[in-house]
């Protein structure tokens, strides 16, 4: 009997050892610091900045990659004369040292907008601009705030006159002659299809040819600003160093790039957190539109997001198919094949790039959440949407997992001081002396 017990003990120990070894091996396999599966490596490589393809030309803006247009656009971007009262430039809200956003829940121009200012790095890669995608190019986007009564607040005849008075040489060298904007009878100081009834009436009173000439100058103003904005790209982050090291199988460099908690957060990011459903590609956004049940802000008008944005883009006088676009219709696939579905698109908003996200609270389209943790709690709980249907389902992540996810998001901050191509951040050395006061960097 004794020998039987002994044998059984030995066998039991053998089985226990096998089980322990198996569990140990599997734990090591599943543990955050373990190697990634080949599929995960493919996913991670796709998220790294090194996977960002060169920016394709914008067929609707033939000046998009012209350095002269970019230089002119950089000056226009900082020029507060492009506003009704001389106080607001693009850079007022798109602050170069702050990732070209303003840290505020709602943008503040000459008034207060209903949405948060979007950062600009990599914006040129997006087929749709604004949170609701109501514009289909960077140049058409730039024109929107200029005529918004709460942003720049001015009119297109006013802006054409700024080009005439202060940028005529550079402008005409690029885009051809401006009309005789010295003539305030033909071109009233404030005229345009804007909210203000007097400016609108003045616009209606102009001849169709004069309106057309102003529209052309206005479109070209946008194209110059877009040429500048096309140069604004995100800078590499610790996450990118990690992926680079992973692809080289350099374990030491991987460990130097990300902490174990950040790696655990990355695993959640591409796995259980399902973050890459929308935040995919090297810019960590699919530039599409999603309803994630973000709460409405009391006091603001109802915001239906993409449901109103797409019809606006389709009707926009400066869209890809418009006469001011340089594109052939075949180049306007995004606009031509856009799918209108007002129910599905209700309260869909564009996911912003997550590059640099930790440095720019508050979050969401109207700054609804003050901290990254608030955002992650929201995604974890997946509350019902105020309108339309939220795509979220509860994630059931623990506090520790949320902390790891948050840690990972911090690793997406750019390592450079400012985008390498931020030529508008400093006056160009060869700029004429008179150009200096035109810049107003808040």
């Amino acid at each position: 009997m004794r020998s039987i017990f002994l044998t059984q003990w030995r066998l039991l120990i053998t089985v226990l050892a096998v089980v322990l070894l198996t569990v140990g091996a599997l734990t090591a396999w599943l543990w955050p610091r373990s190697p990634w599966t080949p599929e995960e490596v493919t996913t991670l490589r796709g998220l790294a900045l090194a996977s960002l393809p060169p920016l394709a030309p914008d067929p609707s803006n033939r000046y998009g990659d012209d350095p002269r247009a970019a230089a002119l656009g950089a000056r226009l971007f900082f020029d507060t004369r492009l506003s009704v009262d001389g106080t607001v430039a693009c850079a007022t809200c798109h602050v170069p040292t702050r990732q070209f956003q303003d840290d505020l829940p709602l943008g503040q121009g000459v008034g207060t907008t209903d949405r948060r200012t979007m950062p600009l790095a990599g914006a040129a890669y997006s087929p749709w601009l604004f949170w609701d995608g109501r514009k289909d190019s960077l140049w058409a986007q730039a024109l929107g705030p200029l005529e918004s009564p709460v942003e720049h607040g001015g009119t297109r005849t006013q802006y054409a006159r700024v080009l005439w008075e202060h940028y005529r040489t550079e402008y005409e060298a690029l885009f051809g002659p401006l009309p005789d904007l010295a003539d305030t009878t033909r071109f009233p100081p404030a005229a345009g299809p804007v909210a203000d009834p007097a400016a609108r009436a003045a616009w209606e009173a102009m001849t169709p040819d004069d309106r057309e000439a102003v529209n052309l100058a206005f479109a070209n103003l946008g194209k110059a600003i877009a040429a500048f904005e096309r140069q604004l790209l995100p800078s590499p982050s610790r996450f990118d160093s990690y992926v680079e090291a992973l692809l080289l199988n350099d374990v030491a460099a991987m460990q130097a790039a990300l902490s174990p908690d950040e790696v655990a957060g990355l695993r959640i990011f591409i796995g259980r957190g399902q973050c890459i459903t929308c935040h995919n590609g090297p810019l960590l956004t699919n530039n599409d539109f999603h309803n994630t049940g973000v709460p409405a802000v009391p006091g603001l008008p109802e915001d239906l997001g993409r449901a109103t944005g797409l019809p606006l883009a389709q009707a926009d006088a400066f869209n890809c198919l418009s006469r001011y676009s340089d594109a052939q219709p075949a180049d306007c696939a995004e606009l031509r094949f856009a799918k209108a579905d007002p129910h599905v698109q209700t309260r869909q908003f564009k996911p912003p790039s997550l590059r640099g996200v930790a440095e720019r609270p508050p979050y969401m389209h109207a700054g609804q959440f003050a901290t990254l943790r608030d955002v992650l709690e929201h995604y974890n709980q997946a509350p019902a949407a105020p309108a339309g249907d939220s795509e979220l389902r509860p994630l059931e992540l623990s506090e520790r997992e949320l902390a790891q996810l948050e840690a990972f998001l911090h690793s997406l901050s750019g390592l450079g001081q400012a985008p390498a191509a931020c030529l508008g951040c400093h006056p160009e050395p060869d700029a004429p002396a008179a150009a200096a006061p035109e810049r107003s960097i808040p």
């Binding site: 020998s3 039987i4 044998t7 059984q8 066998l11 053998t14 089985v15 096998v18 089980v19 198996t22 569990v23 599997l26 599943l30 599929e39 493919t42 996913t43 796709g46 087929p127 796995g271 259980r272 890459i276 459903t277 929308c278 995919n280 590609g281 699919n286 530039n287 599409d288 539109f289 696939a333 995004e334 031509r336 094949f337 856009a338 799918k339 209108a340 599905v344 795509e391």
Partner: protein
């Protein structure tokens, strides 16, 4: 099992101990295989994609009326980028299908949503070839693209599966 082991040992068969150990090793190995299979299944469940997904670029339509082949404009189907496909349609006996009326739809079965765009067949290129514009896949994973083809009074649908990295 333990009963039979005891029996063998009690009978004092010289091979009893060895056979018992063998059984335990087999049991241990089975456990390992089971555990590994369990984890494997868990991982599979997390991705919900059928293991036998047919990713072929040439497929028969559901009722076998047509053989359909597709070729994207780029070698690799891009994520997040609008692009075109050319599809080639033949009858089951290899005759090109010309003048067909074709509608396009797509879906992401795991995510309960369709395509972000409304792609269309915009050109009959002749010889059974058609240009499809406006296709876009805005996330990695398993997508399906369905073409409903009507020609010569007969309609059939073909489904392509895509697994985008």
């Amino acid at each position: 099992m333990i009963g039979s082991l005891d029996e063998g040992q009690a009978a004092g068969r010289p091979t009893g101990n060895g056979r018992g150990r063998q059984r335990w090793i087999v049991l241990g190995l089975a456990l390992v295989v089971l555990l590994a299979a369990g984890f494997g299944m868990m991982r599979m469940r997390m991705s919900y994609v059928p293991a036998d997904l047919d990713l072929a670029t040439t497929r028969s339509s559901n009722s076998g009326l047509y053989q359909v082949r597709y070729a994207p404009e780029a070698a690799v189907i891009p994520v997040n980028q609008i692009h075109t496909w050319t599809i080639h349609i033949e009858t089951a006996d290899g005759r090109p299908v010309e003048g067909a009326a074709i509608t396009v739809d797509g879906d992401m079965p795991q995510h309960l949503h369709g395509l972000p765009t409304a792609p269309q067949v915009t050109q009959d290129l002749g010889g059974g070839a058609y240009l499809v514009e406006g296709l876009k896949f805005h996330m990695p994973g398993w997508w399906v693209v369905d073409y409903t083809i009507s020609a010569e009074g007969q309609t059939d649908t073909v489904r392509f599966n895509l697994q985008l990295p």
